[in-house]
Symmetry: C2
Subunit: 216 residues, 2 copies
């Protein structure tokens, strides 16, 4: 049972390295040296490099769910939860959950043109995440918080794109990156929101009726 803990430790480090150097840059020798153990000893846990890479993808998915997604589920379902997910996403890159930025953004672009098990694993993880995002949007519609006419997949596409853009800009030391992303996200969501008559008040008309809140 000791092996399981060691394996977990290996994978945590593997995820960190892969998020910076890429999954192809993740090398057994480098990883072993980093953990101060022998190549062969480490190797024995996986049997092949590809298996190590696949396990790394899965470990990254776990971390993503634990650090970014699950906490957002505490928010009440519907619009608040959808907003919480978006906020949590930006927070997750800000906190540096992966030292090299969003693991899956990087991995997706790294393997997009290369068929094989790793590409499939990354794609599957992204499918799960996008599915969860779509579900959150659908719930917000069902709760009557979002306009019934909005296209769920379309909105998920746009939000996901903004996440990628946020990660890109943030990694380029653009201090305004997350602020911009948050503004865009909020604007997009507010525009799809069903008018809440209770707080009708005087919303601005025209370009955008945007709140001014800043991300965490």
């Amino acid at each position: 049972m000791k092996g399981a803990r060691t394996k977990q430790g290996i994978l945590e480090r593997a995820v960190d390295i892969a998020s910076v150097e890429g999954l192809e840059g993740l090398t057994i020798g480098r990883l072993a040296e980093d953990l101060q153990m022998s190549k062969s000893g480490l190797f024995a846990h996986f049997g092949s490099r590809e298996e190590l890479q696949l396990a790394t993808v899965e470990a990254a998915r776990q971390r993503f769910v634990d650090e970014m997604f699950r906490p957002a589920l505490k928010a009440p379902r519907g619009y608040p939860r959808l907003l919480a997910i978006c906020r949590s996403w930006l927070d997750y890159v800000k906190r540096g959950v992966f030292p090299g930025g969003c693991f899956f953004a990087a991995a997706s672009f790294e393997f997009d043109g290369r068929p094989g098990p790793i590409r499939d694993a990354v794609a599957s993880a992204m499918d799960i995440w996008l599915g969860a995002l779509e579900k959150a949007i659908r719930l917000a519609k069902d709760e009557g918080h979002l306009d019934k006419r909005i296209d769920v997949k379309q909105l998920a596409f746009e939000l996901n794109a903004l996440f990628f853009g946020a990660n890109f800009s943030y990694m380029r030391e653009d201090k305004r990156a997350l602020g911009r992303a948050w503004k865009a996200i909020e604007g997009r969501l507010e525009a799809s929101r069903v008018d809440d008559q209770a707080e009708a008040g005087s919303r601005g008309s025209g370009v955008g009726k945007r709140a001014a809140a800043e991300p965490a």
Copy 2:
């Protein structure tokens, strides 16, 4: 002078390979074999692998400008040109200008956490492109086509994010990817547009006043 032509041919192939395998996956042996020439003969043109990578980035930038950006400049300045640039971007990934999808999206994510000359070169190319995009937006404002209140950098950020998202989805064989991206882009631009009283007509109100045109 023969060497210059050879070098150009090498770089064209190098760009193709790097767009699929990544700049780190671009290997001298592989490239030489692909071109049916000796490693040493090829190597002599660059002096080091890093120099080859840097030259590859520059060659990719050239191709990007030639195939995607310059053609869009034929459109009249202002809103039409901005729209033409966006359309051209989507078309450029659809046409497979780079076999592995947008070279710079991939390279940006590959090197975002790794300081060094290559990261700098990629970042510089992205800066030039984003600068050009911002300029197009600013021109559209100056021409009175876009609302004067819009934030140029904010809009550029959002468009760029949508391009990345489009590339991501398109590379995943999502047939609707470019359609969605186009819809989002057009919606975002229409919302920032100054109302053209001449063609007032009956635009839909509410969520979005979106035209239904499909991308090329």
